[in-house]
Symmetry: C2
Subunit: 416 residues, 2 copies
């Protein structure tokens, strides 16, 4: 008769510890055994229900990984708006480097185990990007662009915003017909094909995701662009050849902190004396490891650099920084679109990959929205150039001229 | 009879050494004794005439300082377009850290002797900015803005471009009536007065140049803005109080490398949780000391930071980088205007300060033009904010809307 209250009061104690360790979020925590902790001064945003003591113990030991895994397995349920609750958590929860010894150890061990060496990077990229093109087709835009869009206004469609993002990048780089462009981490090839079709450049797209390369080559064939766009399975460290322009969208995150200088060296080698380049990446305000759960389940080997670290890697190449733009709210908006589409296809995804996979991906997309909304995540575009590039315009007004490119072509997407 | 040819051939040998050490510029070097070195494969851009052996010896020992001092004293004359020849030199001449031991030693000794401590900074600033407001009035625009202008088009007047620069900064900061702004290094007060008059903010201008402060206060009185603009004689390290926005134009160059982190800390203290700031400064692509002659004769204690170093100093404040813009060609254009006006007043300046002073300042302005044209110098505007600032617009298009501010006011200067 006495054991149940004792169990409940142990759970209550553990719950209190968890509540403290996560920074006292405005959320009610509850266990199946009846323990409960709630914010003292305000109504909670929602409720987190934890089904069992093992999960409770794991939450104490390594809050981020345990939360993610328990959410995925269903041993932890969230009642209320998931994104808002994750936002609240993002605002109060200490970063992993300020968590307990075990959590810090796991985070560091993962950095080592998932290191983005030549073989490690292939394994890491394969795990995420080779889930099958059909899966991504369910919730990305039809052109399959898996990076932050650029919304000329917040109510633009995702399709228009992805098109606008590509044009924004092309305008920044001021591509000229006949130029050679290296696109590192070329995904399903959309940007490479866009640049070739709309700006008349020759593009070499580099990627280490086999599934993406195959799909991109098919698209180039179908669009009759195989002569001007090639997709090459190669690590950035192995690229030889020189280019007029370098572009990399959503790939720097996968380079890993110890290898940023290698990336800088690769860019240095690739660009000739009148070259310029653009890096588009998720970054941070200060040095901090990526969420351990995201690294464990979603993006192994990921490190989100600061602008400072990126400039440090570029410095030996004597590049001039020309333009840095922060598009943080645009990624929150992009992810809102993706999550909405993902939820619409949740049944299909569950049928293919199971309900646990659906919950894992829901949590990933929702926590990314929360990260961008709260500023734990930032989205940077960094434009840089060699001293010999003289085509940089007098002001940036040309980026904002509506309707026409500088070349006088319409900016509305051409069918291709 | 033999001594003259021997003397000439020694000069010839020294001249050869100088030609090598300066990177074989496309310039003819000639001595009064008849020695001559000229580029082998192309007609020279112009000629440098050196009057005596002592100057020759100094040029070997410390090329930059000797060149500047000999040009000032008239022991070295330049035939041809001074700016073009300095451009050519800037492109081939090794930086001081790759020059001989003596030149490196002098450069480092100066860094130490001119350190921007609390008292050192006052001495350094006094030496340049307290030359007398009348002197600067001769060749700056009537509003006395001594920093890079922003030319909406290259043929804009200097006056319009300085006005446009102030508005460009105000738009980036999105000033709202009633907000408190700290302007660090407020010069003759023009930006502070502009912000108060045109954007209705309260400005505290901080400066350690006594002459500038006095002139700025007079202007505030005259414009009836003393109630909303105060000019305070204080070092950035001593500023207390919190502000909504921070701005510093052309002051970071005087902070000195060892003190950049102090500047970062000062900004951190000054800005509250919804604060934002803008740094406008001459910078570099990579870490490198400022020209020793410029530090000796023009700007003691100056260090031109890289964007990376600036971001490093801001990082502990957990600021988000929002926008970095490179306005390098705009400073070349600004300096062309200044040099032209300076030459028009050269007679007046010579009457007041002597012909040597005129040559010194001509060389300073001309070598700055060369530095910006060749990319040895860069001009950066860095916009950053606390996470709690939510007024950052969806895109940067608002910076380029012609004719109207977002508030619907005309962007043409109002008389004040």
């Amino acid at each position: 008769m006495n054991s149940r209250p004792a169990a409940a009061s142990l759970d209550q104690w553990i719950l209190q510890q968890i509540y403290q360790a996560t920074g006292r979020p405005p959320i009610r925590l509850r266990t199946a055994s009846g323990a409960e902790v709630a914010p003292a001064n305000s109504p909670p945003l929602g409720e987190i229900r934890i089904s069992d003591r093992v999960t409770l113990g794991r939450l104490i030991l390594d809050p981020e990984i345990a939360f993610g895994d328990a959410y995925s397995s269903g041993r932890l349920e969230v009642q209320g708006d998931l994104v808002s609750m994750l936002e609240a958590l993002a605002m109060v929860m200490p970063p992993v480097e300020q968590q307990n010894t075990w959590a810090r150890f796991v985070s560091r061990w993962m950095s080592w185990a998932q290191a983005d060496t030549l073989t490690g990077a292939r394994r890491n990229i394969h795990q995420h990007y080779d889930l099958g093109n059909d899966f991504y087709r369910l919730w990305l835009d039809p052109q399959m662009i898996y990076s932050c869009a650029y919304f000329p206004s917040p109510d633009a469609t995702l399709e228009a915003a992805q098109e606008a993002k590509m044009e924004h990048i092309c305008r920044k780089l001021r591509l000229r017909p006949g130029e050679r462009v290296a696109d590192i981490g070329s995904g399903w090839g959309t940007l490479a094909l866009h640049m070739a079709a709309r700006h008349g450049v020759h593009v070499s797209g580099f990627n280490i995701s086999r599934e993406q390369i195959a799909a991109a080559r098919q698209r180039a064939d179908k669009m009759g662009l195989s002569g001007r766009v090639e997709f090459i399975e190669a690590d950035y460290r192995d690229i030889r050849g020189q280019f007029d322009a370098f572009v990399s969208v959503g790939m720097l995150e996968h380079v890993g902190r110890p290898y940023l200088k290698d990336m800088g060296r690769a860019i240095h080698r690739m660009l000739d004396t009148s070259g310029r380049g653009l890096l588009h990446f998720i970054g941070r305000n200060h040095r901090e490891p990526m969420s351990p759960w995201i690294r464990k389940r979603i993006f192994p080997g990921t490190y989100l650099p600061t602008v400072r670290e990126v400039l440090e890697s570029l410095e030996p190449g004597d590049f001039s920084v020309l333009d840095v733009e922060n598009l943080r709210p645009h990624y929150a908006r992009t992810l809102e679109h993706w999550l909405e589409r993902f939820e619409e296809s949740a049944g299909v995804v569950a049928g293919q990959f199971g309900p646990e996979f659906v919950r894992t991906w829901r949590l990933y997309l929702a926590s990314a929205i929360a990260g961008f909304r709260t500023g734990r995540l930032q989205l940077f575009q960094v434009l840089f150039a060699r001293g010999g590039w003289h085509d940089y315009p007098w002001t940036r007004a040309h980026l904002y001229e509506a309707g026409v490119h500088e070349e006088g072509r319409p900016s509305k997407p051409q069918p291709h």
